[in-house]
């Protein structure tokens, strides 16, 4: 986890800075801490907007990128320093990087109180609608009498304090995880997919058994499909059907077309199933998608289609390491859309792109770094997308 630690003081000597630096090194196994300073941030003035100045933008970017923020505040006049308040005002004016960000407050002070009043004010400030941070409740860390608290190596002397701080920080790490779950976008469940193709769309060739081995022949006869050297006008050009076939057969990948009715209409048939990366057989053309996948992988197939139809993802990729180290095989499920942007189905293209990578490395003298196997584990695996489910594995 990555946190930003804001030094709440702009003074040259600050025990709050020392405290954050101690946290950074002492607890580096728990998280990574980037200690940032506020002394270059100007005084907030709503009539003189400096939101786009680089000190404010730098801080903005760091906070946005962080999993959580730790603010260390001193206490001046029973409240937080004006400099820290000014920073928070900038960060709640035109930009709101602390919104829904988990925040933990710590504080050090010269006297017994350990910034107790400042911390309470800071909680109220962070809770204001423009700031809207999510401050960890309880778990106050007040470091009083700071001048006696650190040794000459800037280490906290009291072992109980070190242990207590460890406990509080561990809780904060847990708190960040919790908040992230709380704030994760709530995705509406997507409509079910009709993988058995019980309905039709405009382009469906009706009254032909989709499961038939000779669906292509039957359907072609039904609609008088053109073939051979008949010209077809395309965007942009004219080819004969033979030329289109030649063209598609030469594609260095296995192409499959499934329409938006979940019917498998076409694949560029050049190899027999056993020589393919994902096996297909000629008799499958025309099948509902439910028919050309095993039962156990239908929920994954549905998930992929839901992502593409809803637009949540434009392409779903799955890395398939089972072909061995001499191939880099990726299954790509690319959403297709018409000119109006309507979902039109899936362009599934499967390829081994290792020859391209090898050629490129040789040309440029570049090398691959690290273990190639380390690339496995695409996030889609979480959803159980069964990439190995070939078309021939009929249920």
């Amino acid at each position: 986890m990555k946190f930003v630690g804001i030094v709440g003081s702009n003074a040259d000597l600050s025990y709050n800075r020392k405290l954050l630096q101690f946290i950074k090194t002492q607890y580096q196994d728990l998280f990574e801490l980037d200690v940032v300073e506020i002394k270059d941030i100007p005084m907030f003035n709503q009539s003189d907007d400096q939101t786009n100045s680089s000190p404010i933008q730098n801080l903005n970017q760091k906070i946005l990128a962080a999993d959580g923020v730790i603010i260390a505040t001193p206490e001046h006049n029973h409240t937080i320093p004006a400099g820290l308040k000014s920073v928070l005002e900038w960060l709640s004016f035109k930009i709101h990087p602390l919104e829904n960000k988990p925040v933990m407050i710590v504080g050090a002070s010269y006297y017994d109180q350990g910034s107790s009043r400042a911390q309470l004010h800071l909680r109220q400030i962070l809770d204001a609608p423009g700031v809207n941070a999510i401050v960890m409740p309880g778990n106050e860390f007040l470091l009083g009498k700071v001048k006696e608290s650190f040794n000459e190596n800037d280490q906290l002397i009291d072992t109980n304090t070190v242990k207590f701080l460890q406990g509080v920080l561990e809780k904060f790490v847990e708190f960040v995880r919790l908040v992230n779950r709380l704030e994760a976008p709530k995705e509406e469940p997507l409509p079910k997919e009709d993988l058995h193709v019980t309905g039709t769309i405009d382009t469906t060739i009706k009254e032909i058994d989709m499961a038939a081995e000779d669906w292509v022949e039957q359907a072609a006869a039904k609609v008088n499909a053109v073939e051979g050297n008949t010209y077809v006008k395309l965007n942009r050009g004219i080819l004969t059907v033979d030329q289109i076939n030649t063209f598609l057969a030469s594609m260095p990948m296995e192409l499959t077309y499934a329409d938006d009715n979940n019917q498998f209409l076409y694949y560029n048939y050049t190899k027999e199933a056993e020589d393919m990366l994902a096996d297909r057989v000629p008799g499958q053309a025309g099948n509902p998608l439910a028919l050309c996948h095993p039962e156990r992988s239908l929920s994954s197939v549905e998930w992929v289609i839901q992502q593409l139809r809803s637009g949540r993802q434009d392409v779903v990729r799955v890395h398939v390491p089972t072909h061995g180290p001499d191939k880099f095989v990726v299954h790509n499920y690319q959403a297709m859309h018409d000119e109006e942007g309507n979902y039109k189905g899936i362009n599934e293209f499967i390829l081994d792109f290792k020859p391209i990578v090898d050629w490129y490395l040789k040309q440029t003298g570049l090398t691959l770094e690290g273990d190639i196997d380390a690339g496995s584990g695409a996030s889609q695996q979480d959803h159980g997308v069964d990439a190995g489910s070939g078309a021939s594995e009929k249920a």
Binding site: A11, K39, F44, N45, H76, N77, K85, Y110, K145
Partner: protein, 202 residues
């Protein structure tokens, strides 16, 4: 006649708190003279080791010392006092102590419904800190809500009940100043406590 400082609690060019103080200044001109004081342009307080405060702060401190009381009108930013006002108070309590035992009345205006209620509560705590130790008039909130709609083009408060309330508070403040001036017994020790307050000797 009493002389007060009206401290504008923001550095913004547009401020209904400034407007409110201007209204108080003219409306009560027969009862007190009020000089408005701005806080714009002060450097960000950074606890300089040499304890030298900027010249403009010294001028402000001097005027506050001379005045019979201070009226602070604060907006509310993020549930609290604006940084610019906190900053002015940080400087005005760093090696100089113009606020110690100074009678203070707090007012506030806000665009919304709450009229800076939380900022005023914070400001009371702040003014109670050892190096400020002002004498804040108790039980005397003046919250001006929806302040953008509160004044007419001649800068008069439109709501007569608000004017009535303010009139009462202002009369009380004048009495409060006289009262505080009799509470002199602790002044010496308060002043001493502020002066002896040291960040390093605690």
């Amino acid at each position: 006649m009493k002389h007060f400082i009206g401290l504008v609690g923001t550095n913004s060019d547009q401020s209904t708190n400034r407007q409110l103080l201007q209204f108080i200044q003219t409306y009560f001109k027969d009862q007190a003279t009020i000089e408005l004081m701005e806080i714009k342009g002060l450097p960000v307080f950074n606890k300089p080791k040499d304890r030298i405060v900027p010249d403009e702060v010294k001028v402000m401190a001097n005027k506050i010392e001379q005045a019979d009381g201070v009226i602070i009108s604060t907006p509310e930013y993020d549930h609290a006092v604006p940084a610019s006002l906190m900053n002015a108070l940080n400087w005005l309590s760093y090696g100089i102590y113009p606020f110690v035992d100074k009678p203070v009345m707090i007012t506030g205006a806000s665009y919304g419904t709450l009229g800076s209620s939380r900022a005023q509560a914070h400001l009371r705590q702040i003014l109670d800190a050892p190096e400020l130790k002002a004498r804040i008039m108790p039980s005397s909130e003046f919250l001006l809500a929806h302040s953008l709609q509160a004044f007419n083009e001649d800068n008069q408060l439109l709501d007569s009940s608000q004017v009535e309330k303010l009139t009462g508070l202002f009369a009380d403040f004048i009495t409060f100043v006289d009262l505080i001036n009799q509470l002199i017994h602790a002044h010496g020790s308060n002043k001493k406590a502020a002066e002896n307050f040291s960040w390093d000797n605690l």
